[in-house]
Amino acid sequence: MRNVAIVGAGMTPFAEHFTLGIKDLLPMAFAECAGSIDKGLDKSDLQAAWFGSMGTTDGFPSGILADTLDISDIPVTRVENSCATGHDAIRNALFGIASGAFDVALVMGADKLRETASKDMLWEWEAMTRDMAWDYPLGLVAPAGFALHVRRYLHESPATREHMAMVAVKNHHHAINNPKARQRFEITVEEVLNAPTVVTPFGLYDCAPQSDGAAALVLVSEDVVDRFTDRPVWVRGVGSGLDSVMAQHKRDMTSFPSTVRAAKQAFAMARLSPSDIDVAEVHDFFTGIELISYEDLGFADRLEGFKLLEAGVTSVGGSLPVNPSGGLIAKGHPPGATGVAQCVELFEQLRGSSVNQVDGARIGLAHTVGGPTAVSAVTILEGPGGTNR
């Protein structure tokens, strides 16, 4: 297989974009991505596109991407894999290029959540993740599905709600400098703990806000990378793992086996280990999920993720900063865009140009765990000048 690099990355701000439709957000993200390619891009360079979107705002997603960018003469594949959608679009594009079928591919992710009334959105999205006869009628809304895990995790681990709050405080602090983030304000542990309860054990600030946004990457083969940049970011490993869809079938709810599986694949492909990671973007849809994911990704021992927070390891300035972009909690979470946007942040981190730059960051990891906690994706990137493979 050929090596594959990211040569351009861009995204819209994540926000409640009431004034912008999906057909506006896609060209905006693409233009920023194209503008980041050091030696420029001509749209005719693109040979294939993968488009990750969970929803079908304004209709048929692949066609919408082709129409809005006027790229109807190349194949466009729509990817839907719950919250792992963005990473899975990257993974498919990677294999398309590595195999030799294409040299240059576009990867985009976008979703528009704030397009239907907030009171209707909940049931619309529920229908995508739940068994219609068994789970759907019980009101297992998205936060509740994750909370079942975190409640059990808090029961078995020494971690407390204060540790969860520390995740929110850290990620909000990171977001202050990020113009793309939706919630750019500091919060305190007390404010997190005293916020209105959404679903026990989550308060308002334990949850990522429903947001709109789009993100874009251009991936190229090692054979043509010089045409685009002298500072490529290499895709070293990708992984995708699954787990039972129904909550009652998950044997150990203190862990996400899908993440363990995805990470194992990605680390094996990259021939790296968790200790090699300098910076990570981790799925913090809810605070407790970041904590559990420290362990599933191999950054912490089982049930000891809280120690990283207590020691400041995962703050910018620590030895393994997690979510320097602000994460889903402070940046927002349009599911199709999220994984792609994580790699936009890592692209900048690994080229030394991030707003929250992690000193000397060379290897980055991005992770999402999705929907009914049944699918995860992990992507590992390496900065320019790396040893590659």
Binding site: M132, W134, H149, Q248
Partner: protein, 398 residues
């Protein structure tokens, strides 16, 4: 003449001791199932079921199927859905063949009671019956209630006139009227009854058995009445009557109809309402919900059989949803329950306790409830009812 072998009663835990109200997840069918299962706790076989109520949730089809499934009875049994109050239930009892389960159900005040007949046991026979018209309270098919508003007329020309016309001896117990009026009609002190409708006569019968009294028991509905004579004999009484407490406050945001797939409903029905898992003959593993399997070599397996699941278990994890969910009442608690000794877990809503009072490790039982109403369809399934604990009792008292 009939012989009653057992009587089961059920009262929802909500309301006051004098007037129970159903939980938001209860209706006449789930109340009937609770009472019926209490009656069947003592064993005994059932050949037909008579359900008496004026509060049936569906006017067309389906009540009977849910009732039989909830009771764990054969879907081939005859079910009679009889519209009526206290007299209709006593009529059904007086003429019941052996192995008939007669269930009376009321929604306001809420309660249900069931009596199982057999070849021997407590002997009852019809003693009096009269139908007279004095419609002081009317309810149309779409639920519109009109009250004429003359309790003295109802007393004088209603049940007093009917009692006189029926030549019945002074009753030992009267069901279907308020306790004060019953006191004036009975030979001795009246039995306090939790309901005044279809279930009230069976509650009265249970009380007579427990107090060892025999004699006439009269069921009244406006100006119509039926009386049975209760003779000697033993019947097992099983009461599911938790202490009454105030129904918790809840928030509700209306929503457009929550969609239902009736194709999915129908496929899931057996396992979901009978509480059964799927099992393949060559495996000890239970699939819940039941499912097709594919062997290692790709062979499709569809020949699972249904096996009953345990109805007790322990909470593995719990959450309470506080955020408003359109179309549902909040807060509500959800649990994953580890069912006893089968390696199967179930996701369920919590019932019969205040939201947020169940903890990991708590024990409880799985009970049939109306877990949702979607697009007009009552959706039945199992909820987790925790065992009473001293903590919960204290919280309820506070």
């Amino acid at each position: 003449m009939s012989y009653i072998t057992s009587i089961g009663t059920y009262l929802p835990c909500w309301g006051t001791s004098g007037r129970r109200v159903p939980g938001d997840d209860e209706d006449a069918i789930t109340l009937a199932v609770e009472a019926g299962r209490a009656a069947l706790d003592s064993g005994g076989s059932v050949e037909c079921v008579v359900l008496v109520s004026r509060d049936l949730p569906l006017m067309e089809s389906s009540n009977a199927a849910v009732l039989l499934a909830g009771l764990g009875l054969d879907p081939e049994l005859e079910v009679t859905e009889r519209l009526g109050g206290a007299p209709a239930t006593l009529d059904a009892l007086g003429s019941a063949r052996p192995r008939t389960l007669v269930i009376g159900v009321d929604i306001d005040a809420a309660g249900a009671a069931a009596a199982l007949t057999g070849e021997r046991g407590l002997q009852v026979r019809t003693a009096a019956r009269i139908a007279r018209s004095l419609p002081v309270r009317t309810r149309t098919a779409n639920g519109l209630v009109h009250d004429y508003g003359d309790p003295r007329l109802l007393k004088e020309r209603g049940f007093l006139a009917s009692l006189a016309a029926a030549w019945v001896d002074t009753p030992v117990a009267v069901a279907g009227v308020e306790e004060k009026q019953a006191a004036a009609l009975c030979a001795g002190p009246p039995l306090p009854l939790p309901t005044t409708g279809a279930s009230s006569g069976l509650f009265a019968l249970a009380a007579m058995v427990e107090s060892g009294s025999t004699g006439p028991l009269v069921g009244v509905e406006q100006a119509s009445l039926s009386g049975i004579t209760v003779a000697d004999g033993a019947a097992q009484i099983n009461r599911r009557e938790p202490r009454a407490r105030a129904k918790p406050e809840c928030a509700y945001i209306p929503s457009a109809d929550i969609p239902i797939s009736l194709a999915a409903y129908e496929r899931a029905f057996e396992a979901k309402v009978r509480w059964e898992a799927g099992k393949y003959s060559d495996s000890d593993e239970l699939d819940f919900p039941p499912r097709y399997r594919v062997d290692r070599d790709g062979t499709l397996r569809t020949d699972y059989s249904f096996v009953p699941l345990p109805r007790t278990g322990t909470v593995y994890t719990e959450v309470t949803v506080h955020v408003p969910v359109p179309g549902l009442r909040t807060p509500y608690s959800l649990v994953i329950v580890e069912l006893d000794d089968v390696g199967v877990r179930a996701l369920a809503k919590v019932t019969g306790t205040e939201p947020g009072t169940v903890d990991i490790g708590d024990r409880g039982r799985m009970v049939l409830r109306r877990v949702a109403v979607r697009s007009g369809v009552p959706d039945y399934g199992y909820a987790f009812e925790p065992e009473p604990t001293s903590d919960r009792a204290l919280e309820a008292a506070a």
